[in-house]
């Protein structure tokens, strides 16, 4: 019985491992920024929170930091942005994150 209980506990905690390695500050920051993108409407408090929670289920925190960095830095001007726009690791990370974020947004009724 004991073993069984432990296994259950492990099974239950496994998917949560990802979901809880995002610091609170980062989730809040994501939601704030996402809300600003949507005229700060109350509705987006829920939709943006939903999106970051979905993302947090799919990738761990370090991967999130790196790949979201790669996506936002694609917009950098001049040669600087090149290491994120051109073929290679930066672009791959950005593409992966964009796809994941699009999927998460869709699941959260975001346009």
């Amino acid at each position: 019985m004991k073993m069984h209980g432990l296994a259950l506990l492990l099974a239950a905690s496994m998917p949560m491992a990802h979901a809880h390695d995002f610091p609170t500050a980062d989730r809040v920051e994501y939601v704030l920024e996402c809300m600003v993108e949507h005229q700060s409407k109350q509705e987006y408090l829920y939709k943006c929170s939903c999106t970051i929670d979905q993302i947090a289920q799919e990738m761990n925190y370090d991967e999130f930091v790196e790949s979201s960095t790669a996506l936002r830095h694609q917009g950098l001007s001049g040669p600087r942005g090149a290491e994120f726009r051109d073929a290679g690791a930066g672009k791959a990370m950005a593409t992966k994150y964009k796809a994941l974020q699009d999927k998460a947004r869709k699941a959260c009724y975001m346009q």
């Binding site: 790196e66 960095t69 001007s77 600087r80």
Partner: protein
């Protein structure tokens, strides 16, 4: 010439005020000797970015926490850092180049200055609208605006004391460098190497804004303040005079007039030799076939007499540049052991991937070694001629226009860009933020039009192949032997300036937005994620008995912008305008100064 007139005027002043002028040329040097201040962008005139403060040390750095933050309210890249003089902090923003004076007691704003500038200047800034910060001396704050205006403000009130225009944005001339105050002069440079401007450096009287001297990077000797008989350069294993027309001879026709050689880096000054040091940027265009010759004195380390501007010695690192390896990076002055002998050295980590150690008094070349092992455009620097031995495979000139030269390391970003390294006199090592990126480079023919980009090359960049997969390293370097002591891999290029301290902690920032503390062996002690990527420099100061660490974050990119701006295509935006005009509608967060301290006791 106006410079001659003002020189005479200045000499008269010297005679009248000889004693006081010499004794109190400016107070900034004295201020930098007190580690409680951070009175110059690099902490001091030697560009060491080292602090004697040690309340924060390798044992307690892991407990650092946010003490306060300040938003500049401006998006885009935030380079440079805050100055601290006594109980006041001076912090700047990118274009429109705001300056804030903050009261350290409660972080309230004492004054704010915002210059009126024509936003048209943004279109002629190649690489974002950055500013590398303000300078301070004698109750004045000096701001170098993007539109080339240099302005002196009253440090108490923020009121304009004088201003002077140093270039013409209509010709593609802009400014991104910090002004440097050495003795009684404010020295400033020019940006615009991608627009075919003619680089130069100009010295102004700190008190009046009158031009004292101006020295071009290319052209006739008199424009460059070169003395054919006494300006020396490394020749056949020893120093020899440069001779007449040393620049003119190395250009086709009058190409030197649009030859680049801009001066937007970090200068240093040695009061003992009265020499100031700085580097010049790439020759224009990026298509090397169009400008045969060595293109002197682009890509050059200059040592100039501070009072007259005359060049004492020069050293060209990348003759006839074929890769955009600007030579503007910081010149660090340090007394270090080379082959068992203590030398008054100048150490420079060039974009071209070589770390150079020169005798800063004579200009003798002492060490030139790769500070990233992947560097391949040259096999080595020939120590007799001082010239790099270029690998023909990676010569974009030999391969010619419309041929894509592949696998060149480093990329045009350089093994390091302007982000300044730090030197710790305590460990004798240099701590260097680096790029680990290679490129394919395809030059093409281009016509020069004033005020238009004069680039002439298509690039593609990627992480150094067959390495750790990341695009950056943070390294420790022994400039006496030219060896990497340790190398800490980073996912992205490290574009933030480093800081080393007597507390045996070295700080730097990353593009993810982390500020990191490592020990002298490169072991990570602490990291904290600031609101945006860090391309600013980490600074430190003391206020009311406690040490603080501060860094600007803010790089421009925000979530969603990449796709919103449709910048998903390779090569887009390169050397051109980085305009995403509607950024403001995405966020009002802007760049942020984050200040850290140990927990309250």
């Amino acid at each position: 010439m106006s410079s001659g007139l003002s020189l005479k005027h200045w000499q008269r002043c010297m005679i009248v005020l000889a004693l006081p002028t010499l004794a109190f040329a400016s107070d900034v040097e004295q201020l930098t000797k007190n580690p409680k201040n951070w009175a110059m962008q690099a902490g001091g005139m030697a560009n060491q970015r080292y602090s004697e403060l040690k309340e924060i040390n390798k044992d307690n750095a892991k407990t650092l926490q946010v003490a306060w933050t300040f938003s500049t309210g401006v998006l885009r890249g935030h380079e440079g850092g805050p100055l601290v003089v006594g109980d006041t902090m001076f912090v700047h923003s990118p274009f429109p180049n705001q300056v804030y004076a903050l009261n350290l007691e409660d972080q309230s704003i004492r004054w704010k200055y915002e210059p009126k500038q024509d936003p048209a200047v943004i279109a002629v800034m190649c690489c974002d609208t950055v500013s590398r910060g303000v300078a301070y001396s004698d109750g004045k704050v000096f701001l170098q605006q993007a539109d080339t205006t240099l302005v002196a403000l009253d440090a108490k009130t923020g009121k304009e004391l004088w201003k002077v225009v140093t270039g013409d944005p209509k010709k593609g001339e802009t400014a991104t460098n910090t002004p440097h105050v050495f003795k009684d002069k404010v020295i400033t440079g020019i940006s615009g190497g991608e627009f075919g401007v003619r680089g130069r450096i100009t010295a102004y009287d700190m008190n009046t804004g009158k031009q004292v001297w101006k020295a071009f990077s290319t052209g006739p000797d008199e424009d460059m303040l070169m003395n054919p008989a006494t300006t020396m350069t490394w020749t056949d294993g020893k120093m020899a005079p440069v001779g007449k027309d040393s620049s003119l001879k190395t250009w086709k026709g009058d190409q030197w007039k649009i030859g680049g050689g801009t001066t937007w880096g970090w200068y240093s000054y040695d009061p003992q030799t009265n020499l100031m040091y700085y580097g010049t940027g790439n020759p224009s265009t990026w298509n090397p076939r169009q400008r045969p010759g060595d293109n002197k004195w682009s890509m050059t380390i200059f040592a100039r007499n501070l009072d007259t501007g005359e060049a004492k010695w020069v050293y060209q690192m990348t003759p006839h540049d074929e890769w955009d390896y600007d030579g503007v990076n910081e010149m660090i002055l340090a007394d270090i052991k080379v082959k068992g002998q203590t030398r008054k050295a100048l150490v420079h980590f060039d974009r071209n991937g070589f770390g150079y150690t020169l005798d800063r008094v004579t200009g003798d070349l002492l060490v030139a070694q790769k500070y990233d092992p992947v560097v391949n455009w040259a096999s080595h620097v020939d120590m007799k001629s001082g010239r790099p031995i270029v690998n023909a495979k990676y010569s974009t000139d030999k391969n010619g226009p419309d041929v894509n030269s592949k696998g060149i390391c480093p990329s045009a970003l350089g093994s390091k860009d302007q982000q300044p390294a730090s030197y710790s006199p305590k460990t004798g090592l240099f701590y260097v933020p680096t790029n680990h990126v290679c490129m394919d480079y395809e030059p093409f023919a281009i016509e020069y039009t004033a005020g238009q980009p004069y680039v002439g090359s298509t690039l593609s960049m990627y992480p150094a192949p067959e390495s750790h997969g990341g695009m950056g390293n943070f390294i420790a370097w022994d400039a006496g032997t030219g060896k990497v002591v340790w190398s800490k891999p980073e996912k992205f290029s490290v574009w933030s300036g480093a800081l080393s301290t007597a507390g045996d902690v070295v700080f730097y920032g990353t593009l993810e937005g982390y500020i990191k503390a490592v020990d002298n062996n490169g072991k990570e002690l602490w990291k904290f994620k600031t609101p945006s990527g860090i391309i600013g420099n980490v600074n430190t100061w003391e206020y009311k008995g406690h040490q603080y660490i501060g860094v600007l974050s803010g790089i421009g990119g925000w979530a969603g912008i990449g796709l919103a701006a449709g910048l998903d295509k390779p090569n887009e935006g390169l050397g051109a305008v980085g305009g995403y005009k509607d950024l403001a509608k995405y966020t009002n967060l802007g760049g942020t100064l984050t200040v850290f301290a140990l927990p309250p006791k």
